[in-house]
């Protein structure tokens, strides 16, 4: 319940934050919303000597529409995502997903950057970002680069992010107008991590699926972008046969942990159900 001691820093710029990370190395962590890191610190499972609070850095929040992409500041809270009119108009699956994360208080503090950066298999945004083929903008001592969400996650809590890098923004290619979408999440109770969840987006053209994306949450030690399942939908009429194929391929990708949410075989089957229901809802919404 009581964390260990640390020194607290509140840098004013990203450069300053990066500098502090580089200076203190392994003993330093950044904190955004804090609702992943601080509980771990209270259980003394995360131990650090330097806490770098990003809240004072200007320009890390907010959503901007760049035409073919939407750029979301890493410090944008889940609540801000839910309320944002640009996202509501151009990419509503983000708000739908955010509403299923945790509870109202956590959503006031939790950020999109925090949700994507840790590599926690339970977080919802990573799979969604993979489905959206988003990229994370990372700034470090050597400058700025973009890392595709689809190649960001290596293993549970292990990501491509360099030791002294900070994610400053998430760039989401704007999905085509009229796309269908759904984030289908089953959980033991509101606020829990997913027993299994699926993000699905698709566009239809004259009764045929022109484009799709399927990704899974918390049924592996990383989010799972279901490339083959996606391919099974594209070019089809999203009829039962195509959906069955997509579901089977998605299930085949899964390698869920057995925990209090259920045994592995159940979670795999449930992932399939989530994919099926998400496809159905996405199809309904597609123009």
């Amino acid at each position: 319940m009581i964390p260990g001691s640390f020194e607290y820093h509140r840098p004013q710029t990203v450069d300053e934050a990066v500098g502090l990370l580089a200076q203190h190395g392994d003993d330093a962590r950044v904190v955004a919303g804090g609702h992943s890191l601080i509980p771990m610190m209270k259980l003394r499972m995360a131990v650090l000597d330097h806490l770098i609070d990003l809240q004072a850095i200007d320009g890390l929040s907010g959503v901007s529409d760049n035409g073919d992409s939407l750029v979301i500041g890493a410090m944008t809270t889940q609540n801000e995502l839910i309320a944002d009119p640009v996202l509501a108009a151009k990419c509503p699956i983000i708000a739908e997903t955010a509403l299923q994360i945790a509870d109202p208080q956590v959503r006031y503090c939790g950020t999109i950057g925090g949700n994507v950066a840790n590599g926690d298999p339970g977080n919802d945004m990573p799979a969604l970002m993979q489905a959206l083929d988003a990229a994370y903008v990372a700034q470090g001592p050597d400058g700025t680069r973009e890392i595709a969400a689809r190649s960001f996650y290596e293993a549970a809590y292990f990501t491509e992010l360099g030791e002294n890098e900070i994610i400053t923004a998430v760039r989401v290619p704007t999905p085509a107008a009229g796309h269908g979408y759904a984030y289908e999440k089953q959980k033991r109770k509101i606020g829990d991590y997913a027993t299994a969840a699926a993000a699905v987006l698709l566009t239809m053209s004259a009764g045929t699926c022109a484009w799709a994306a399927i990704a899974l949450t918390n049924v592996g030690d990383t989010p799972l972008y279901a490339e083959d399942a996606t391919a099974a939908l594209v070019g089809s009429s999203v009829d039962k046969a195509a959906v069955d194929r997509a579901v089977a391929l998605a299930e085949g990708l899964t390698n869920p942990a057995a925990d209090a949410r259920g045994p592995a075989d159940y979670r795999t089957k449930l992932a399939g159900i989530m994919v099926r229901r998400a496809i159905a809802r996405a199809l309904e919404r597609a123009a």
């Binding site: 089953q186 033991r188 209090a260 259920g262």
Partner: protein, 807 residues
Amino acid sequence: MSDAMPSVAERTQKLEGLGTARKRVEDVRFTQGKGNYVDDLKMPGMLFGEFVRSPYAHARVKSIDTSAALALPGVKAVLTAEDLKPLNLHWMPTLAGDVQAVLADEKVLFQFQEVAFVVAEDRYIASDAAQLVEVDYEELPVLVDPLKAMDADAVVLREDIKDQEEVGGHGPRRHPNHVFTWEVGDKGGADTAFDGADVTVEEFISYQRVHPCPLETCGCVASMDAINGKLTVWGTFQAPHAVRTVASLISTIPEHKIRIISPDIGGGFGNKVGVYPGYVCAIVASIVLGVPVKWIENRIENLSATAFARDYHMTGELAATSDGRITGLRCHVVANQGAFDACADPTQYPAGFFNIVTGSYDIPVAHLSVDGVYTNKAPGGVAYRCSFRVTEASYLIERMIDVLARKLDMDPAELRIKNFIKKEQFPYQSALGWEYDSGDYHTAMEKALQSVDYPALRAEQAANREAFARGETRSLMGVGVAFFTEIVGAGPIKNCDILGLGMFDSCEIRIHPTGSAIARLGTISQGQGHATTFAQILATEIGLPADNIAIEEGDTDTAPYGLGTYGSRSTPVAGAATAMAGRKIRAKAQMIAAYLLEVHDDDLEWDVDRFVVKGAPERAKTMAEIAFAAYNSVPPGMEPGLEAVSYYDPPNMTYPYGAYICVVDVDVDTGVTDIRRFYALDDCGTRINPMIIDGQVHGGLTEALGIALGQEIDYDEIGNIKGGSLLDYFLPTAVETPVWETDFTEVPSPHHPIGAKGVGESPNVGGVSAISNAVNDAFAHLGLTHTQMPHDHWRVWKTAERLGLTG
């Protein structure tokens, strides 16, 4: 005066007595954040205690090195068993007649068992210091399965009592891991009934280990005043007087030098009945260091180390005629007591009142045996929002009725009605030894079934089952019926005592000259609203407005001796004492009034708030007038003042009952159960405050939902606790909780002074059965006889899979 006298109705309303939905007096402080809970206490010089706990479920403690912890600035002491030995406090007696280690003495027996107690200037330093204590363990084989505890090759857990023949006086132990065997009923008669029965059913039914998990964890502040030799302990105690007596017995501090105070308590639900190592260590630390010491556990400690509930593994059997008349009941239970039997039960009842297992049914012959065993799990168990083991017993019989109904292809409501104890049969002597005092089950059941239009529900279910078979829906509807009879209000001294303290309760009233009053009770509210409801009882008895009656509980220096609040006993026992004390007040008041009015006592009659001369209503004295007179104008020979005390030994337990009906829709592909509708009809006898009764039912049903649909304190094969934090332990939020429909009938208890029976725990008893019956019912037509709780998503899905439904 008589022209202006308000009517009976107006005067009754002004009192806000029995039956009124009086708003709670407690709420004024709670809604302003001005409650006074243990962790709110601050005292000069106060130190903080924190435990070092074992990571292992079963291990020898080879050594404990406290030097690094002691060297940390701000650390004042680190206690181990060695420090408690000279005081003979390294072990303490439990409420079940066993002993429990206060700090591990040579070995640990469950994960998170207390090993050392660090005392420091603040909780941050205490936490840092606890990290620095080095303990060397030698791991031992672990036993977690209660069904294997008495195997010949099972590892011996309780080496400390290995030569002890009995625990708690419950007869010879058959095995080192055996605690007790409790047997009740007529084995020969039951066997005969089964041998000759048309139909028998048998089912193994587990009631999983859960935890009451009140929102406030356990804790205390212990303060030894060395100058005056007085120990004061504020703490989360549901039974403050019992704690005082026990503290005196184990510490040799005389009882008049101990003061126990239960301030505001943030929920109890049975978790706060027993004495925990934290209380003992805080007391010792305060004595040794000469300053107050606070100990407040965190949530993980609460779930992992304080008293669990249930963990009963039950085999039930019913014998019946082919047309559904039950002719016999047999049960055997393996009771998992954990590492120490710290069950909070009356001493003669090591398995509580499990012998209420005949339930609401007229079962001519029955036999019950319970074997208590030790395992490497946290000690306990307590009655989590129920009377002792009543939830377990009620669950068993309610499930078995459904199992029998399934076998006979009879409707479960119909089978119940067929076997109910009839109104004319009360008082009813059950086959397992209880005398049920009153009830009208048929009326209650009729009302319930009509209210939900039960035949329409079954018709809808039939249509749903056909639609499912045709592949038109993937949702299965279930209808769960439960008709529970509880046994609460412990209890008559002749059979109910805790560590020798008879389970009476008490009320002491003092009326002030200006017509207000203070009453003190031996119980202690943890949210039940005693300050509001007990004033209502008195308002009706003595004719003073409830707003003018202060109710106090919880300070053993001032409150009369009582056995506390749990097992729905406050209204049946202390409520009775309150009414009786009120009647003593009124009896004296009558004599004073007669004297003032210059009439004979018998010439007066009581009229709401005053004594009136029969036939001359304009000649009256109100209770307020009598109160003042008590201090200056009492009849010759009478003592002045207006005060009374009652210690009430109830002649019997009380038997609240209810008819609950639960409608669920189970999503077969995901295992999710949606409670579509829940109707709860309760008969708690006389209803003191309908608003508070409804609140109790809502809360109890929500706790039942948690238990039935997800709560579980589970362990892996090496004794690591799973689900020991709120990340996993299922507490429903407002989203998972449905709207609860409440209803009632009112059959007063014939022996209780105001006819009340108690209600706080009925919903947990009936709720679990109704919800579980509903989930089981959803699959009953496909051959399912029983699926184990909790009915969480994955288990329900597995049930569907086994039945071939998930394709």
